[in-house]
Symmetry: C2
Subunit: 508 residues, 2 copies
């Protein structure tokens, strides 16, 4: 087949090898199986003991593309995509976006009947901040100044320390910001980036694409995925001994896929470590509004470092935020930003140049980023409905997390840490030798072997732990807490029934 | 100052040298001068013989950031940004976007009073194409399948040859698509990309960022910026003799900054050349709706190659399209796409992987991309108003192009080719030796020297030709045709008066 294309001269053997090396690990065989099942279900409903594929895969995207309304219903459990699981958007946010898209209706009388008064007022305010009220014009490459002012004051209110709008770069989701920093910091494979294991695959993919080296540090599952400084020191030392110039430390808080929330004392140690070692602290804080346990609270690394008395010239800190997570889950809007502090003016200029090559991020995403950092306040017409929508989503997520966590811990050989935050559970499965041998015979990782059996038997799709990396010899899978609450019991009973059968079969 | 940051360890000397090497040439000194002037005008209105800065700079973005309504009015003439110059968005497009952002108003009676019937109907159709009607969910990494179907049929109607929705990758504007192809094709500085000179700086910037080599080919100004195959052959041979592996040919049609529109016979020669040499043809076709002369017509390279009988396996062709240009000029929405044909399934998989690492492009931009390829049709309620809006914009642009072209050609020592398409004029200035010597003394390029004098005297900002590269020893500037039509006479008289004085001063 490929040979037909010989005339084109472009083959996998002569494209950029970094592209080949890059793995977006949560894609792959599981997805193909899920798609086949989905097709089969469409062709002969009832051909399987289940009528839904419960999928926790980043590449649910592949499923979406073949989805159409006449399909047997598919339940997308991908953690990053709440609105694909029927979560409704926050009304106030969408009102403002619609009005900014079509400002000519702002003055019409019918508009008062359709939109809340504060949404109309907010749209007027935002349009005033946009030169010429032109939502269809390129903006400043860092994002519209007035919107950055709003975001900065929201961050200041959150942290108790001021944020500078000139430190903010608005981006199409958080991913482009992560790529921009990797592009800035990585010169060659001798440059290393410390990343947590398990990690979110965006980091390994971006480091590979930019030709750097991922320097792993392991989170301690026994202590609820604790981040030990001794482990950071050990891995840094090991990397240096191999001639790796370690440039930055990635911390994901709340954690993906682990769901842990760092304690403030731990964060102080991390800041101290980065300052001492002169590492850029890349703080993935996109789940900052997703904390489910009363004994944990989100603290931004900016707040922690400033509360330690460290300022602009003491530590280099980058924080990533996104409109895709939180309680709003506006993944499709591709809004996000990074706050950069501790870079010299000369380096900032280079970062600005990188941003300017792509002109600017999409204006709707920029507006939404300002809205999540300045939601309706007490007294605003939308305040009560907004708060109700927010509370309903977050409290339901907390209940789902607890239910799934308990269910997983009740399974033979499965231990699961709390989902303190984010949107995931990452249980450890102690697989029988017979299952591991069977997996080896099938030339697949034991956790992928388990996940495939789970999918075939129940239609539940989870991501094998190997997609996120894990301590060698341990096996996990990532499971989202996002399915609609009324569907959780069915998921639990299917999973429980499957797991028992699987263990009986392979206990040997 | 920078030394204060020594603790941070990140300096311009130890970041990725490719970032340093990357130049976004239309930024720079001219912008700083414009900003200073703008500030001075704000502080003391009337301190200059002009009250507007007429700016044709990609980095008008810098100006935007300091703009606020209490400023003396600034007229943004940046070619890429019509809505920053008071061009109004197309009503039908914005109606549909607003309804898709806030679907819950679709069924309300007030909505019929505010939106056209076909916009409401179109919003329903589009929401039907989106799994779960979730405009806030990540989509397939190539874009929502239903929207790609719409775009593909629009392309099929345009070309008379079918387009496959699976060949389309929807992106946040065209720039990410260009970067994706450079990332795929460039392995090292030994890989070359043939680019027109003058060129749009996105290409030189992207090639530098990915570590490749720009192989220049010169457009022939004497023949209206003609693209000579002999020149392509000559430059390809020269590059090969230097050990450069030339992988692709970039063609911008209609041209930026030159404004030329290629003839179909010329396009056939280009296709034949790429096929013979096994080069990927990267066709920048973002100005496909911007053709102003009756004797020229846009033909996509896909149509041309298919009409020559060349199919999927004969030539590798990538076409870039954007919602930022055309008559709609929706730059801020960041919508666009590329059509890829002639890649083997294995290579396509790698391109898909690159797209999937960033999850998907923004959904509003995806919807807009489908709308520009399927506008209202005869019989639709919006058809007449839509056609009137479109015709008004395009006919006005044609008049502005002609007026400016004539004015420029009337200046001593200035020759300017027709703006057959796109949004620019790129006049050649025959500068007196005295001016060239003065420029050398001032350590600046002669065309930058001219542009600075023009800015200081009139407030008109143009981009020196050196920002786009040009035949050594020739001097140009890029001038947009986008200022509001009623302001063109003032621009012409200011420019004419300045030029006369400048020539008198330096004629020597």
């Amino acid at each position: 087949m490929a040979s037909d294309y010989s005339a084109t001269h472009i083959t996998v053997d002569n494209i950029n090898p970094k592209v080949l090396k890059c793995e977006y690990a949560v894609r792959g065989e599981i997805v193909s199986i899920a798609q086949t099942l989905q097709q089969r279900l469409k062709d002969n409903p009832g051909s399987h003991p289940f009528d839904e594929v419960l999928s926790d895969i980043l590449s649910f995207l592949d499923l979406l593309c073949t989805h159409s309304s006449d399909y047997v219903q598919i339940l997308y459990c991908n953690i990053g995509n709440p609105q694909a699981l029927a979560q409704q958007p926050i009304t106030f946010f969408r009102e403002v976006l619609a009005l900014c898209d079509h400002p000519s209706i702002l003055d019409k009388s019918e508009t008062q009947g359709l939109f809340s008064a504060d949404a109309i007022e907010r749209a007027f305010q935002i349009l005033e901040q946009i030169p010429g009220r032109a939502t269809g014009a390129y903006s400043h490459s860092q994002g519209i100044k007035g919107l950055r002012d709003t975001i900065a004051s929201g961050m200041g209110a959150r942290d108790g320390f001021p944020a500078d709008p000139n430190d903010l770069f608005l981006t199409d989701g958080a991913s482009p910001a992560v790529h921009m920093m990797m592009q800035l910091l990585i010169r060659s494979e001798n440059d290393g980036i410390l990343c947590p294991i398990p990690q979110y695959p965006l980091y390994s993919a971006s480091i590979a694409l930019h030709g750097g080296t991922l320097v792993p540090y392991y989170l301690d599952e026994q202590t609820g995925w604790g981040l030990e400084i001794s482990e950071l020191e050990h891995q840094l030392k090991t990397a240096k001994s191999k001639g790796i110039d370690v440039r930055a430390l990635v911390v994901i808080n709340p954690g993906n896929p682990t769901g842990q929330v760092l304690g403030e004392a731990n964060q102080r140690e991390i800041v101290e470590f980065c300052r001492k070692e002169g590492l850029v602290l890349l703080a993935d804080e996109v789940y900052q509004e997703n904390v489910y346990v009363p004994d944990k609270k989100f603290h931004s690394f900016k707040k922690v470092s400033r509360s330690m008395g460290y300022g602009e010239t003491d530590i280099t800190l980058v924080s990533f935020q996104s409109v895709s997570k939180g309680f709003y889950g506006e993944c499709g809007k591709r809004g996000g930003y990074m706050e950069i502090t501790g870079f010299s003016p000369e380096v900032r200029e280079q970062i600005y140049k990188l941003a300017s090559v792509n002109l600017c991020s999409n204006i709707s995403g920029q507006i939404l980023a300002s809205l999540i950092m300045s939601p309706p306040k007490v007294g605003d017409e939308s305040y009560e409905s907004f708060s109700a929508e927010k509370e309903a989503i977050l409290s339901s997520l907390a209940r789902r997390a607890k239910t799934l966590e308990d269910a997983l811990n009740s399974l033979e050989g499965v231990t699961c840490n709390r989902a303190e935050g984010a949107m995931y559970l990452f249980p450890c499965i102690n697989l029988p030798d017979k299952a591991i041998k069977a997996a080896e015979a099938a030339k697949t990782a034991p956790d992928a072997f388990y996940a495939k059996h789970l999918l075939n038997a129940t239609g539940i799709v989870v991501v094998p732990g190997s997609g996120f990396r894990q301590v060698p010899g341990t096996w996990h899978f990532r499971c989202t807490i996002l399915p609609q609450e009324e569907k959780i019991p069915a998921i639990v009973s299917r999973l429980t029934e499957f797991h028992k059968k699987f263990m009986d079969e392979f206990r040997g």
